[in-house]
Symmetry: C2
Subunit: 121 residues, 2 copies
């Protein structure tokens, strides 16, 4: 049983991995094959779709990195953690909180929420 | 489709209802029969068990009331909102955030997290 902190750390690392092969290997190792991802802006099912979502965010924000905010918590098969996205060492542009549910030690679903988004121009 | 704010408002009202008949009527109207509730301290499935959880909290904290903190948000069939529990008009003793998933307009699952708990004596 992985802790909420371990799940969060691996999750953030995945979103920062720009090498497609490494991303797919991490997804295969720690996400179920039918894993679902949803947030207010996008959704996907399975390793291929979720990998494409991650690649899309990286392409859109090539200079940005994800980082963990605060302390992850969780119980049973569920974990909660908050993250920030912004230039390395700079102020976060987007902040969110994700709820991750695991099945047999792998991530089975992610339900994401946005805590801060850039003001619209 | 009910908004996150409507779902949160009804949910908080349910937790504050001390009349058992009213609680059961609210559960029947706006929660699915197989609805699940889980937080770090307790869990239940179905109207009967969830009603018992609510009654138990009310018995343990008879002078306390639940109130909404911040602004609920959500998308698709999921809503997120934060709450406080404490004496009416006084400082909150416990704070939490709940993730509610609906099915056909009724609450199908609640995944609760605690944001603040009393310091242990």
């Amino acid at each position: 049983m992985r802790t909420a902190t371990e799940i969060a750390r691996d999750y953030i690392a995945l979103w920062n991995k720009t090498d497609a092969g490494t991303r797919r290997a991490l997804l295969a190792a720690s996400w179920t094959e039918d894993a679902t991802y949803a947030d207010p802006m996008m959704k996907g099912v399975g390793h291929g779709e979720i990998d494409a979502l991650i690649a899309g965010v990286q392409e859109r924000f090539p200079e940005f990195r994800f980082s963990l905010r605060g302390t992850p918590d969780g119980y049973d098969d569920v974990a909660r953690f908050s993250w920030a996205l912004g230039p390395e060492g700079g102020e976060a542009v987007v902040k969110g909180t994700d709820i991750v549910r695991c099945r047999e030690g792998r991530i089975a679903s992610v339900t994401g929420f946005l805590d801060q988004v850039p003001p619209t121009a």
